[in-house]
Symmetry: C2
Subunit: 427 residues, 2 copies
């Protein structure tokens, strides 16, 4: 599938090296599948365990040793063996305290009949120990331990046996799953100090637009401050990618060609542009990309926003040509580029997860024609999922999906939402 | 409230400078309230907009200028004014194309009657313009523009008027809310290049336990690898805190006192310890903390895990004494320390949000007595919230709350869950 697409893209370029105007727009999901087809694992690197949270292991991680590694006490108290003086009531036992085991003590002690050894939480259980009696259930007079509420067969021994949590060789983290705090706990416990993970992709981007000004230039009618540059820097960092450079470029083929060439030469796994997409004669990304030998995989989606968005490859670099409006960049970043950033690290699940929610306000769209994704605020109430459209400066946590033929979605209707990160709430 | 508590803590220390054994355990929510009482905003710093995602503004951020800043075109097409030749059908107009406005062109053009000006998306709308006709609805022959489907009163003008999104002075981000991609878009648009944010807290931690080994030392029965160190490093980084140092320390009062003193002297907003909590005679954190002049705010929670956990203050530093088991550290970090990290930055909402979910498996607890929080996997299905207990090496995304008297929670029961970050799904 991948190969065929590359080939057809090449053929297309041979036929028309400037611009491919006949390309059929495709569905969002098809676009996502195509992108993931081009994402194979990047190289492996070794990182300290303390820096591995959120990273993806190079292969499944297994227990290097059993967990716990030795029989250990679950309480501060007294390790007792067999025997002990039994008082008349048959429920009071007494033992002679003969030693003390702190956590970290590596001596292999043996409990004699009628003896007890003081032990700390985490301490190594002596041989012949039948139970640890928590301190709060003991009475100590001199070196005599009295256990008033002791039964010959204690319900709970407070011994954490070797290997009871994990056997040696057992899988801790499967391939394709990012490392979580839970994993770190177990990995540290079985002796991982470093882990082999897949490196994060290097990303470069440029924002086109002669109307864009940056720095602290005074604003003039006709000029705008670039929002895409800070937006993309934030989004890439949050998605775990590594930004190497970014730049603002004039709407000019030569300037764009120079930037693309320089960024490719400097090396990047993902190259992103904003602006310069669409039908106007000033729209220049696709033409420049093709002229430089880029292979277009698709250049139009059956989606609004996103109608004008390009995905292609240039050597080993994935190229995303995004439209100019920042809300479209935000959406397409989450639906297309973030999945690529994760998939290049071997993530098994990378596209935003979908779930159903009940719309709590009517939703209208000005135009019929294409499917839409609208920024939404998803929330839970009394164990139900509710959603409404996000306001202009409100933080969205999902996109509400509106199928192509619809222009209205009514309050109370069940709709599909795409959840933003973390995408782990849906089955 | 805060003052009274500090005072009572001081008095308690005067009476018993070594250890306060009579302190009453408190509920989790009381503990959270007490901690937040001690969290006031740290100092303000200025950061580039591109590095501000997730940070908290020092004060509400308002629009420095209107958005958009000028009347701009929403399409590549033709700006038309009044007049134009009308054909017999009354629906075909023609105009003379007299100029061209690229995005970024700052000339203040004026449209004469019967004239049209080619304009790009984002271009400055000329004076006297009534509408922009998108390119795809136009026919151009030489310098003549023909609009076949033009109506005297177009439904949509494709003009984005100055100030239609935001008026100057309008609030973009309220105080206490973290900066999101949506905010960055608007802030950039109105001319923010940098933002005043509250600095992130400096955090130091140490892990006590003579049984702990670090580095690549071979494992011996009786010794364990420290899981809390990589765990806390990951959790602190993910919560946005700045880790300055961390250390492993023997179970020894002098060693602990030295580490606390050194870390305080080097400066930190939050100091965390793990281990050395609980009733045994080797449990040393509270004693050492008090000896150094620390004021204990509480030292026991009505919660499992968390029964033995200390919160206190030492100078301007918040001190959290956590128990040793890593799962308890994980839970208490999320319920107590992460809220403090956010609240010190001025966050309005910082404790994990609660919601209801249906239990899909029975849940048993070995002991009666204290309320419990159990790691859970929360998910959505058909717009319903479901939850089950997390397996040992599975990534949890919530805690399931079990009230004090209960030992069993049945499949199908509605339970309360505390959602882990992001905590923005509940109302």
């Amino acid at each position: 599938m991948t190969y065929m697409l590359c080939r057809s893209a090449c053929e297309k370029i041979e036929i028309n090296s400037m611009k491919n105007t006949n390309e059929q727009p495709i569905e969002l999901q098809t676009a996502q599948d195509l992108i993931l087809d081009f994402c194979s694992d990047l190289e492996v690197e070794q990182v300290p365990l303390a820096e591995s949270l959120g990273r993806y292991p190079a292969s499944e991680l297994v227990a290097l040793s059993a967990l716990p590694g030795y029989d250990q006490s679950l309480r501060d108290g007294y390790a007792i063996g067999t025997g002990g003086l039994v008082a008349a009531q048959h429920s009071i036992h007494s033992f002679q305290i003969v030693d003390e085991v702190a956590a970290g003590d590596t001596r292999k002690l043996v409990l004699g009949a009628g003896s007890a050894i003081r032990i700390m939480t985490g301490g190594l259980i002596p041989a012949n120990c039948t139970a640890v009696i928590p301190e709060e259930n003991c009475e100590v007079t001199g070196s005599t331990l009295v256990v008033p509420h002791f039964f010959p067969e204690p319900v709970k021994t407070f011994i954490h046996p070797r290997g009871s949590e994990l056997a040696e060789g057992q899988v801790i983290v499967p391939k394709g799953v990012s490392l979580s705090p839970e994993h770190l706990i177990v990995l540290a416990g079985v002796g991982y100090h470093t882990v082999q993970v897949i490196r994060v992709p290097k990303i470069r981007f440029f924002c086109t637009g002669s109307e864009l000004v940056s720095g602290t230039v005074a604003k003039t009618a006709g000029k705008k401050f670039s929002a895409n540059s800070p937006l993309l820097q934030g989004l890439i960092k949050r998605a775990g990618g590594r930004i190497t450079t970014s730049q603002t470029v004039e709407d000019d083929q030569e300037a764009v060609a120079t930037v693309i060439s320089e960024m490719l030469q400097a090396g990047c796994d993902i190259l992103i542009s904003t602006g310069g997409m669409g039908p106007g004669k000033f729209d220049l990304i696709e033409e420049t990309f093709c002229r430089l030998g880029g292979k277009v995989i698709y250049s139009s989606l059956l989606l609004r926003p996103g109608k004008s968005t390009l995905f292609g490859i240039l050597g080993n670099t994935l190229f995303f040509g995004m439209p100019g409006p920042p809300p479209a960049v935000h959406l397409l970043f989450n639906e297309l580029i973030r999945p690529a950033i994760l998939a290049l690290q071997g993530a098994k699940r990378s596209i935003p997860q979908k779930c159903k929610a009940r719309l709590i306000e009517d939703l209208f769209f000005p135009k019929r024609g294409l499917a839409r994704l609208k920024s939404g605020v998803f929330h839970l109430k009394d164990a139900n999922c509710l959603v409404r459209q996000a306001k202009r400066t409100e933080t969205a946590n999902c996109y509400i999906y509106c199928p192509a033929p619809q222009r209205k979605m009514r309050k109370g209707e069940m709709v599909t939402v795409h959840l933003l990160e973390p995408a782990s709430l849906c089955t």
